[in-house]
């Protein structure tokens, strides 16, 4: 009885699926799918290597400092970093005094006095987070704190995007005449829908002046440095995580081998 019932229920589902499949197959056969311009021209990020990659990778603090400089002088005009506190910058190798100076010369914190209702500004302290950046009337550009974790291949994506601006390929216009980049947007094949509002931020060599002992601030170098910095802002505990990981795995390996030997010991002479 239960078998008859089960076969009937089974037929209900399988026939419904076959019906869906037949409809889908009919649609696929009769209505050719239109290739979209994003599908044809979107590129996945370039292969980029960062010092922090891999199970052994660690941050290159010198590079993070350069990247922070690029962020501060270029990106910070529009993009906030609200999850990062100035005190966190000590991890980049800055001293307490340097962090204090960076905070006090950095963006101001909004203040509000609940008694008087006065609104004002004050200099940032090391304990403050980077304040939000408002872009009146146009909506705020995305916060960058987590950007490299919020995109597939985060670091490589940021680097590819920053250096990936180009003119629209002639072939694109030929195949998709409607897909011309609208005014005010900029073509970039690494962006999901190919056109983004941000103009190319890194415009030329020497846009940022690196201190002595650093590589030349070419666009490629600045882009890579700021990408490395944004990997750090998204995962500041990366170094500590990997440092902790090795001894933990070492101990577990040791304990597991001991456990295996104990297991062999207990079962010695018992067939199974």
């Amino acid at each position: 009885m239960i078998r008859i019932f089960s076969i009937l229920v089974g037929l209900f589902f399988t026939v419904a699926l076959a019906w869906s499949f037949a409809n889908g197959a009919y649609t696929a056969a009769t209505e050719p799918t239109h290739e979209t311009v994003e599908h044809a021209f979107h590129k996945t990020p370039k292969e980029v290597e960062f010092a922090s990659d891999g199970v052994l990778g660690r941050f290159d603090k010198q590079q993070l400092q350069r990247g922070f400089q690029v962020y501060k002088e270029v990106c910070a005009n529009c993009h906030s970093l609200r999850l990062v506190a100035f005190r966190d910058l000590k991890a980049l190798g800055y001293s307490d005094d340097e962090v204090k100076a960076i905070a006090s010369q950095g963006p101001k914190q909004a203040t509000f006095d609940p008694k008087t209702g006065d609104r004002g500004e004050r200099a940032s302290l090391p304990s403050d987070h980077f304040p939000p950046v408002y872009y009146a009337g146009q909506g705020s550009p995305p916060d960058l704190s987590l950007i490299t974790k919020a995109r597939h291949d985060g670091g490589a994506y940021v680097d590819s995007l920053l250096t990936g601006y180009s003119a629209q390929p002639a072939e694109l216009i030929k195949r998709f005449p409607d897909a011309k980049t609208p005014d005010g947007l900029h073509y970039n094949p690494y962006f999901a829908n190919l056109n983004l509002a941000m103009p190319p931020p890194l415009t030329g060599e020497g846009q940022v002046t690196y201190g002595p002992g650093n590589p030349k601030p070419t666009v490629a170098q600045m882009s890579k440095d700021v990408s490395a910095f944004l990997i750090w802002t998204a995962e500041p505990k990366l170094d500590k995580r990997k440092q902790t990981g090795w001894p933990v795995l070492g101990f577990l390996l040791f304990a597991t081998i001991l456990g295996y030997m104990a297991y062999r010991n207990v079962w010695a002479g018992t067939k199974h």
Partner: protein, 192 residues
Amino acid sequence: MAHDAGTDAPELHAGNGAGDGVRRRDFINIAAVSAAGVGGLAVLLPLISQMAPSADVLAESSTEIDISAIKPGQAIKGIFRKQPVFIRNLTPAEIAAADKVDISTLRDPQTLAERTKEGKENWLITMGVCTHLGCVPLGAGEGEVKGEFGGYFCPCHGSSYDTAARIRKGPAPKNLQVPEYAFNSDTVVKIG
């Protein structure tokens, strides 16, 4: 309680006929259990209804939107009940395209006139919530794709809506829902 009721002494009911007493005692037991049951159910009521939308959430159930700045062919996204609502000023061409469709071929047959207010056929006001699984379709914002029927396109599972926001292709079962609304004036619409 049940214990007391079950083993109570017969002398309490002296004076009544024996059968009568038994019946009355049964009745009392049943009534006591029923009362406990009713009490239990009554306690469930607030426990269940606390999960329903609270007063502050319900208070947001109507909203007024200024539509004076929307030019023909444009649309805006408003917020109604914490969900997007699309307000679209249709061009005559879009109205004609919607009226041209034979409604008997539609999955959810409705004319544009049924989906708009009389005399305001150019104002198409719908929820921006795909009737499939609740994603926000594209097509109301500047530069967003409108799908192959010129209305809205849901990126989640590929449902396409036409210029009357009626479902034309994809898995969604219904047209984009038209919320209750009224024009307070020519430039302000009250939704909800």
